[in-house]
């Protein structure tokens, strides 16, 4: 369960976030949607405690992101915007390193890695150095790395960037699987179709504010558009006028 209340963050003169409030519930996939520069990544970075908010609060499973960053990180799996694998380690070693830093070791860790290798279809590349992997393979390894400690909350920053159709399908299945296990999944995207197909709840942000939130159907109704992409374009434009 992720809760965000009146979050604000400035970088020098630029107000990245002005007022963001939303909740992402367990057993649901919540999509954070907005054009480039709307503040999606800043918001996620505050949630995974890489940076701190200027005001407002963010909690994950009741742990405050500013006050208890370690507790937050323990119940969180993150796929940041840059996947950043270690090129000289194999896929499996990359995943194992994160497991060890989560305090896992020995047989349970190896079993967990094996399960993820099977689930993400990584068997062919698991023992190859990361520098030889394709973009899609890298994202899958980074995802395995994020899930190695079985987190209850998962944050994915633009997970489908650079993936081909097959990889996107695998990813979708995985995200649905996580949801069905009762995880809280929060993902960001600027691609409409993806969000519509996957998300149970939508939070649309523009210029650092929440423009609209609700289920995909509610968003369609509120904007009077059948098509989510139309709704998105319309909302972005309203925000720009306002």
């Amino acid at each position: 369960m992720i809760e965000v209340r009146q979050l604000a963050k400035r970088f020098g003169q630029v107000a990245a976030l002005r007022d963001i409030s939303f909740a992402a519930r367990d057993g649901r996939v919540t999509g954070l949607l907005g054009p480039n520069g709307a503040g999606k990544s800043t918001c996620l970075r505050i949630l995974y405690t890489a940076i701190q908010a200027d005001s407002g609060s963010a909690t994950i499973d009741g742990h405050d992101c500013t006050l208890e960053p370690l507790a937050v990180r323990r119940c969180l799996g993150v796929l940041p915007h840059a996947t950043g694998l270690y090129p000289n380690l194999t896929a499996r070693e990359n995943v194992r390193y994160y497991g060890e830093l989560h305090g896992l070791a020995g047989e349970p860790l190896e079993r967990g890695i094996e399960a993820l290798v099977a689930r993400l279809d990584l068997a062919d590349i698991a023992d190859r150095p990361a520098h030889g992997l394709s973009q899609g393979q890298r994202i899958k390894v980074a995802l395995a790395r994020a899930l190695v400690h079985n987190p209850r909350n998962v944050i994915l920053d633009e997970p489908t960037n650079g993936l081909d159709v097959m990889a996107i399908r695998t990813l979708r299945d995985l995200i649905r699987g996580l949801r069905d296990e009762g995880c809280c999944v929060l993902l960001s995207s600027h691609v409409m179709q993806e969000i519509g197909a996957l998300c149970d709840d939508l939070v649309i942000i523009g210029k650092g504010r929440v423009v609209l939130q609700g289920s995909p159907d509610e968003v369609r109704t509120a904007t009077g558009c059948d098509n989510l992409e139309e709704a998105f374009v319309q909302l972005s434009q309203t925000e720009q006028v306002a």
Partner: protein, 393 residues
């Protein structure tokens, strides 16, 4: 559960053992560059010094017929006489042009003045800006002086006076340098090569762990793990220390081996570099390792890219030269105050070891303590830098 510091250090070591550039600089370039360069330089210097002593003095002489006795004296004392231009002006221009190194011009009036019992003129022409010739000029000068003394003694004896009369004082120089202490002058730069190789061993790791990790985009994901940032940077510094220690040990070993091939004894030197001295050198240098690792990490943390980090950290390699330079310019003697300056204290201690002196326990403790304390402060600074938000860039 293993401490996160150890997990991070183990991963950095494993990853860098697979990186050719890191391996090359830590295990090959650093440790071998110094000893090989050193052995080569020493061998060349020795060859030259030894060959200079053996070769006869070559002297171009004009007006040889005027002073046959002088010529015979010179030849008896190992001088090869060659013809020279007749006039002083011609001899000067020949020396200036580098055609001859050393010319002795015997003027016409030499014989006449000698017969009259007046000082007989001789012109020794050489170029003092040519360092190669200075030794020869001094030898020629010494021979001419000896010939003069010989003539003076004969004249006094003819007059019934003992030649000792004109030797009111008799100065003898006593050189107390031992073979080992003489070689210290030359071996002094070895300290720098050792510290250089030690830093070189950790250079790429220190950059990779900070600027490199940020540039690859792996830092952000790493910071989402439930590990204190202090532990992350601690592990990275620890891994850097391990590589530096490896490099240091290899360098000292390479020196121990390579100095056996250098014929130091021909110059009356001994390298005094046995296994025990090698271990002692390793011991007094070890406290410098964490200091160097933390210093490179701190500098790399300030930079924005791998390239920038490389530029700045490479400058660190020059830092240990400064105190060593000052030390050799002022020929500093070890004392407690100097022992508190890292790199200088290591230099002084290693020099003492090479000289064959015993080290004082107090000096070792101050040197190690000061280096470790400063290293600790720099580690604390690195941890602080790693906690900044701006770290992510």
């Amino acid at each position: 559960m293993r401490s996160p510091v150890l997990v991070v250090a183990a991963k950095e070591i494993r990853e860098n053992l697979r990186d050719r550039r890191t391996l090359f600089s830590a295990l090959i370039f650093g440790p071998l560059f110094g000893p090989i360069l050193f052995a080569l330089m020493m061998t060349l210097t020795l060859d030259r010094a030894v060959s200079n002593l053996d070769t006869p003095l070559e002297l171009a002489v004009s007006g040889q017929a005027i002073a046959p006795n002088l010529i015979r004296f010179l030849e008896e004392n190992g001088t090869t006489i060659k013809p020279a231009p007749d006039t002083l002006a011609d001899a000067q221009s020949a020396v200036r042009a580098g055609e001859i190194d050393l010319a002795l011009v015997i003027p016409e009036r030499y014989a006449e003045r000698l017969q009259q019992g007046q000082p007989a003129p001789l012109e020794l022409v050489w170029d003092s800006s040519n360092s190669q010739v200075a030794k020869h000029a001094a030898r020629a000068r010494g021979l001419l002086d000896a010939y003069g003394r010989q003539l003076a003694a004969v004249r006094l004896q003819v007059r019934g006076i003992s030649p000792v009369t004109i030797l009111p004082i008799d100065v003898r120089t006593v050189d107390v340098s031992t073979p080992a202490s003489r070689s210290v002058l030359v071996l002094g730069m070895m300290t720098y090569l050792i510290l250089f190789a030690t830093l070189m061993g950790g250079l790429y790791l220190a950059i990779d762990a900070t600027a490199g990790e940020r540039e690859r985009g792996s830092l952000e994901a790493l910071l989402t793990l439930p590990v204190e940032r202090g532990s992350l940077i601690g592990g990275k510094i620890l891994a850097t220390c391990v590589f530096m220690t490896l490099s240091l040990a290899l360098t000292v070993t390479a020196f121990t081996v390579s100095l056996r091939w250098v014929p130091l004894e021909t110059l009356g030197m001994s390298s005094n570099f046995g296994v025990l001295v090698a271990l002692a050198v390793l011991g007094v240098t070890l406290p410098f390792v964490p200091l160097g690792a933390a210093l490179m990490t701190v500098i790399a943390s300030f930079t924005r890219s791998y390239k920038e980090a490389q530029t700045w950290v490479a400058l660190v390699l020059l830092i240990p030269t400064l105190p060593i330079l000052v030390a050799s310019l002022y020929s500093l003697k070890e004392n407690a105050w100097l022992m508190s300056l890292p790199s200088l204290s290591q230099h002084l201690l290693i020099t003492q070891l090479l000289r064959g002196d015993s080290l004082s326990a107090g000096n070792i403790a101050i040197s190690a303590g000061a280096s470790l304390v400063l290293g600790g402060l720099l580690v604390a600074l690195a941890v602080r830098l790693y906690r900044r938000e701006a770290l992510l860039g």
